[in-house]
Symmetry: C2
Subunit: 230 residues, 2 copies
Amino acid sequence: MTERVEPSQPDLADLTIGVLGGTGEQGRGLARRWARAGLRVRVGSRQAQRAVAIAHDVAAGLPDADVAGDVNASVAAVSDVVVVAVPYDGHAALLATLVEELRGTVVVDVVNPLGFDKQGAFALAVPEGSAAGQAQSLLPGSSVVGAFHHVSAVHLLDDALAEVDTDVLVVGDDRAATDLVQRLADAIPGMRGVYAGRLRNAGQLEALTANLISVNRRYKVHAGVRLTDV
Amino acid sequence: MTERVEPSQPDLADLTIGVLGGTGEQGRGLARRWARAGLRVRVGSRQAQRAVAIAHDVAAGLPDADVAGDVNASVAAVSDVVVVAVPYDGHAALLATLVEELRGTVVVDVVNPLGFDKQGAFALAVPEGSAAGQAQSLLPGSSVVGAFHHVSAVHLLDDALAEVDTDVLVVGDDRAATDLVQRLADAIPGMRGVYAGRLRNAGQLEALTANLISVNRRYKVHAGVRLTDV
């Protein structure tokens, strides 16, 4: 795919991509894919030692990889774009501590607020309408984008899988930020970033993950989403 | 695709498919596709005369089509499966009048409760969580299924389009009913019915239509949804 880089859009190779909660499967999987794509990645965790260990795993077998780990606040401070991949449980509490570190930063919220019971997964009610909306309300100085909600961690972490066959639906109110996040999706082979509306329409993308979990159970798969006609 | 018909599943050719609100684009488009597939279709409207006129359009150029039109209540009473394709505005009011006619019937809710403003489409808050949930609460004697939310009416109504390239995500709590609705999707060339969870997860499918409207505007397309790995 030929990529047209707009003058206002930075070269991805010049950016530092931070992944908060990089010790979870989703964060680790995205970090691994970006490291494989040759991008500079910083893995954040509550404990520096744990982050360093995960960074080591993320860079395994990639001699040229530029990957390091540190506590979440340090990663937030040095990164140009920060992916929030923590459990919904600790989402608000973590972001509330990073208001200054994330000021002026593009924040990519990948969190799915879900509950589980005997009948499977269901969407939790979020006062701000979505995890991404909650992030934007906690981080008024940041540009929050919702994306990567439906990407299978199993597929991301499967090194034998050359491509991750899915579209990434990207929502946000700042065009430069959503453009950048689409390009972060495009940087992973098989993935395609597709603009899918404003931040107020993030909640249903997060909640859709509950449906995909039902699909996965019924059909014994790791379902992804593709849009037709785009 | 080879279809395995379970013994408990009726032959689609033996069923009467009612479409309430068949005068809207979505209802008319589905009715047309099922008529083209050789199924028996009844088109419902508030006015019998209008329903008859639409039925005539739906059957146009299909000499063997079994299509007729009548008022909504009569269509509901004679149909084995009833598709509700009315505007959300009149959704609750209509269903409240059809409790008896729809008793024991599979009701397929395709309604998307959306609002529109200068920034595009957004999901409306529905007290019951979704239009489909509202239908189930109004129709305790019916088995409500959510489906066909994302199918482009433009594509449905384009006779030159042999196939409608999309998956149909089907949610509901009654396995026989969701199986039947998946088969109604499979009956339309290009479409595939995919089970996507319980009725409590219908709201995000309805709301996702707001995102698809944003996709359509940005990319000048009529987007559909496909699930990968299924």
